[in-house]
Amino acid sequence: MSEPKHAAAAAAYLKDTAKVDWQDETLWLVRGKRDRLSKELPEWEQLREAASQIKLYSNSHLPELLEQFEQKAVANGAIVHWAKDAEEYRQIIGGLLQDHGVRLFVKSKSMLSEECGLVPYLKSLGIDAVETDLGERIIQLMGLKPSHIVLPAVHIKREEVGRLFEREMGTEPGNSDPTYLTHAARRNLREYFLHADAGMTGANFAVASTGEVVVCTNEGNADMGTSLPKLQIAAFGIDKLVPDRESLGVFTRLLARTATGQPVTTYTTHYSAPRPGSEFHIVLVDNGRSRILADREHFRLLNCLRCGGCMNTCPVYRRSGGYSYSYFIPGPVGINLGMTADPKRHQGNLSACSLCHSCNDVCPVKMDLADQIYSWRQHYHASPAKKVLSDGMRAVMGGPGRFHAALAAAPGLVKAMKACGIQWGSGREFPDFAPVKQQKKIDSLDHEQ
């Protein structure tokens, strides 16, 4: 089944111009911060190249790196699980929580848990999973999905957060001061941290040579959530593997600078061993990743750090919002990842790209995102109207005779269309085609002296 097309959703979204402009400016600010920070490092482009090469190396040496990671992690005292798909991932985590009698469960941000539908599944088991990243918590309380992978609540205004917290946490009516609201959220979340039976994180990186799981956050919520409970789980995709700490250093220098324009995240935590008296479980998840790895045109997608940099720079994403895309990851990388997950369902996102290639140049691991969108378009044709236009153009361009006849007809045709009020999209007129005489002048140039 095909989801609704991006173009239609975006057209509806664009009706609220003030909100669109606000969202565009907010995201552009992040892109601007990223530009400034990246330009402070003279070696920035070498770092990107190194990161890309390390990822290509890691992903093409997964069998040995994964085994090395498992060996080290087990030696460190962790318990390692393997999940081939979303269902196994859910069952492993659900099973662990049930075995430990967990009722209240705190988790930090993990796109994998969105990908695998963890929270709704746990709910069906009667386990309350509380998101502890502030943005994710806001979204969870509102009953929404993230609209951006790093800034999940970037589309929510602070006044809306104020009203939400007033209802959920009893904050002062009408107070939407960010510092005040953040303190309220902190107090509220602290209760969950204190009483949770288990805590979970995803991972930004997993270091094969040491068996460490590395989690980068700004709020310290991952650290809070894993510091008290007797059960700690870290679940992540097998694409998070990096060979060693030295290569990890390349990524930590790129990640926060690209994602949010910070030199480094406030907290970069290396988890290796369980705390005394507690258990540390690691769940390594495939869920389609080895299939992507086998895809000659798209294996580079496994380079992705989930930094969101491509979203912030994408002129289409900034003007159409995360919810205009059918896949839970929007923007350039989301268009691509959606296609690897279920092409028939997500081909309606393929139009959301003007092929400007800005994402390619922002990507810290040098994914060829725009080229990959071009490539998907060759195999999936979501729009019959586009086929008609393409066929029409091709027919006209088939020979100079036809081409010139069409060009001779064009000025009159466009004039007639304009007279009927037909535009090239609302707010843009068709170009005036050059009169035949002017066009013909080109053909006589060669004979001039």
Binding site: A10, A11, V20, E45, A352, C353, L445
Partner: protein
């Protein structure tokens, strides 16, 4: 050395004077350029829309017309980049966007003519990020802008760049039709930023971006005009 002028289909259709400007410039700079007759389209619009497979005949026509030439120049970074990327090795190293060719190969030290106007330079996506006409704002490499360098040869012209100097204007070929709402919004924002520079003209090396922005200017009757960069460079010829 045989040099051919490639005429992108939409340039012939909407702004053929650009071709005359190319012709004059190349002749002025001592290049004996030929215009192979029977040119239509390189296939880019269909390819970008997802129908590259259907453009085999167009590619074959292009190859037949141009393969005998040592150098091919064309006034469209987008089409030139497309041919470099999608035509295999056939034209590698010998097809150039015309401003790139003038700047990198012909290297004129002066051009005649005077254009006493303030122009806002539109750095197109494919010109900047695929054809290296300027340093992309995303990359940490030293700033350069070949179009700005060339405009500097013309007396009287004041060149400025808009805020977000190389953000996409939203044309994108059939993107402008399929995603027309987003495309018009992108173009509207772009034109506004050009206007905010106080320029009288938006200039670019790509007629496609100018055609799209021109459509927005016309629909909203905005106080700025578009002009192809080659018309400025050839204004004294």
């Amino acid at each position: 050395m045989k040099v051919a002028l490639f005429i992108p289909c939409y340039v012939r259709a909407v702004d053929p004077d650009v071709i005359e400007a190319c012709w004059k410039l190349l002749r002025h700079l001592g290049v004996d350029v030929e215009i192979p007759p029977g040119q239509t389209c390189c296939g880019q619009p269909m390819g970008n829309a997802g129908y590259e497979e259907d453009t085999k005949a167009l590619k074959a026509r292009f190859e037949t017309l141009f393969q005998q030439y040592d150098v091919i120049v064309g006034p469209s970074s987008s089409c030139v980049a497309y041919i470099r990327e999608h035509y295999g090795d056939l034209f590698r190293g010998r097809i150039f966007e015309i401003c790139e060719y003038i700047h990198d190969v012909l290297k004129p030290e002066s051009l005649p003519g005077r254009f006493p106007h303030k122009v806002s330079l539109h750095n197109s996506c494919h010109g900047t990020r695929l054809a290296a006409l300027a340093a992309p704002s995303e990359l940490n490499i030293p700033y350069f802008n070949k179009l700005k360098d060339l405009l500097g040869l013309i007396d009287g012209v004041e060149v400025v760049e808009p805020e977000r100097r190389d953000e996409c204007c939203g044309f994108g070929g059939l993107f402008s039709v399929e995603e027309s709402a987003v495309s018009v919004k992108m173009g509207t924002d772009k034109v506004r930023r050009h206007i905010e520079t106080g320029a009288e003209y938006i200039t670019a090396a790509d007629s496609s971006c100018l055609m799209h922005q021109g459509g927005i200017i016309a629909a909203k009757k905005l106080p700025i005009k578009t002009i192809h960069i080659l018309k400025i460079l050839a204004c004294g010829l």
